[in-house]
Amino acid sequence: MKKTFIIITVVFAVLACLSFTVKAYHDPETVILGTWKEVHWEYERVYHSAHIGRAATSAPREVKEMSATDLGIINAERWVFNPDGSLILSSNNVKKQANWKIKGRGNILMITYDNNRVERYNIATLTKGNLELNFDTDAKIRGIAKVSCIKI
C-alpha cells in the first residue's frame, strides 16, 4: 500500500508540474490581452436560409451586416482587451466599453455590457497573432459566423 501511494503521488506531481508548465506557456487570459483589429467576417456554416448562396459569396462587410445586427461587437473594428477585465470596442466614430471573461476550458469569450447584456463567443483560434471567434447567428441567416482578428 505504501509503494502504491508513493507511485500515485509521483504520477500526480509530474502531471501537476506538466499542467502548470503548459499553463504558463499558453494562458488564454494572457494571450488575449492587447489590441486586436478585425480583418475578416465570414459564414462558417449556414443551417437553413433562403440566402445560402448569398452567405457563401458575400464580402466580409456584408456578412458582418447580415449576421450580427443585434450584437455588441458589430460596430467595432478595434478591440482592446485590458488586464483589469475591461474591453474597449471602437471604430472610427463609436467607442463602447464592456467587460470580458474567458470561461469553459478557455474556449468561451464572455462579454458583458453596461446594461448587463451578456454575449458568448466560441474561441476557435487564439494565438499570439490571431484571434478567431465563432458565434451562432439568428439574424438574416441562421448559422455560425466567424470573425477573424489580428493583433496590432
Binding site: M1, T4, I8, F12, L15, L18, S19, V22, K23, Y25, H26, D27, P28, E29, G85, K101, I102, K103, G104, R105, G106, N107, I108, M110, R120
Partner: protein
C-alpha cells in the same frame, strides 16, 4: 446504503444510494455548466475534445482536458483503493471515506466560490478539477460497492440499459422477470433524481449562486450519516442486550444472601 457490499445489497439499498447520489451529480453537473460553462460529471465529451485537440496540436487544451479526464479516473481509483484496502478493518468507514473526500471537495468549491472567486479562468479550471475529482470519487464508490449496478454521474450507460430493458419488456417472458423489473426501477429512479437535481440547481442558482454547493453538501451528508445513525442504533441495542444479559448472569445481592 453504505454498509452493505456487492451482492448482499438489496434493491432498496441501491435505489436509496442511487437517488441521493444522482441528485448530487445532477446538481453538480448543472452547477458547473451554468457557472463555468463546462461539464463536470461526465467525461465522454472530453475524450472527443481531446481527440480533436490532438489533431489540432493545441497543447494547452490537450493538457487541460487530459488532466480533467485523469482527475475523474483518479477519483474513481482512490474510491476503490480505499474500499478494497479498508473494508476488512471497517466497512462503513471504507465506504464513507470517499464520500467524505467528495464532501470536502464540494465544500471547498462552495466556500471559495462564495468568498474568494473573482471569475478568472484559472480559478474556474481549478474548481472544475475539484468537481471532476469529486464526481470520479462518487462514481467509483457507487459502482464499486453495488457491483457496478449503480452509476450516477452520467446517464449514457443507464440510457442504453433502459433502452435494452424497454425492448425486453415488449415480450411477456421478460416482463415477468423480477430482476429485470428491479433493474428498470433502479435506472428510472436514477434518471428522475438526476434531472430533479439539475432542475433544482437551475431554479435556485441565480439567487444562491455558489451557496448552492452547501445544499449539495447537505445531501451528501445525509448519505454519509444515514448508515452511521443506523450503526449507532444497532450499537446501542447491542449494548442494552449485553447489559441485560450481564444482569441476568450476575445474581443480585438479595438473591445471594
Amino acid at each position: 446504503m453504505l454498509r452493505k457490499y456487492s451482492n448482499s445489497r438489496t434493491l432498496g439499498d441501491n435505489v436509496r444510494l442511487g437517488i441521493l447520489t444522482a441528485l448530487v451529480a445532477g446538481m453538480v453537473n448543472v452547477a458547473s455548466l451554468l457557472l463555468f460553462l463546462s461539464f463536470s460529471s461526465n467525461v465522454t465529451g472530453y475524450f472527443a475534445i481531446l481527440a480533436s485537440e490532438l489533431v489540432n496540436g493545441n497543447i494547452y487544451q490537450i493538457a487541460l482536458v487530459g488532466s480533467w479526464i485523469f482527475l475523474f479516473f483518479f477519483g474513481s481509483f482512490v474510491s476503490n483503493f480505499l474500499v478494497i484496502n479498508l473494508s476488512e478493518k471497517n466497512k462503513y468507514l471504507a465506504h464513507a471515506l470517499p464520500l467524505l473526500l467528495e464532501l470536502a471537495c464540494i465544500l471547498a468549491v462552495g466556500v471559495y466560490g462564495t468568498y474568494g472567486y473573482k471569475g478568472s479562468l484559472q480559478e474556474s479550471e481549478l474548481m472544475l478539477s475539484l468537481l471532476l475529482f469529486a464526481m470520479g470519487l462518487q462514481n467509483g464508490l457507487t459502482a464499486s460497492i453495488s457491483n457496478f449496478a449503480v452509476k450516477t454521474t452520467h446517464l449514457t450507460g443507464a440510457t442504453t440499459d433502459l433502452g435494452v430493458l424497454a425492448s425486453m419488456f415488449t415480450s411477456k417472458k421478460f416482463r415477468n422477470k423480477r430482476e429485470l423489473r428491479d433493474k428498470a426501477t433502479l435506472i428510472f429512479s436514477i434518471f428522475i433524481s438526476y434531472v430533479v437535481g439539475g432542475v433544482l440547481f437551475a431554479l435556485f442558482y441565480k439567487t444562491l449562486q455558489f451557496k448552492m454547493f452547501f445544499i449539495i453538501s447537505a445531501f451528501l451528508l445525509v448519505v454519509i450519516l444515514y448508515d452511521s445513525y443506523k450503526i449507532w442504533i444497532l450499537k446501542l441495542k447491542r449494548f442494552r442486550i449485553n447489559r441485560r444479559h450481564k444482569n441476568d448472569l450476575v445474581p443480585s445481592y438479595t438473591e445471594r444472601r
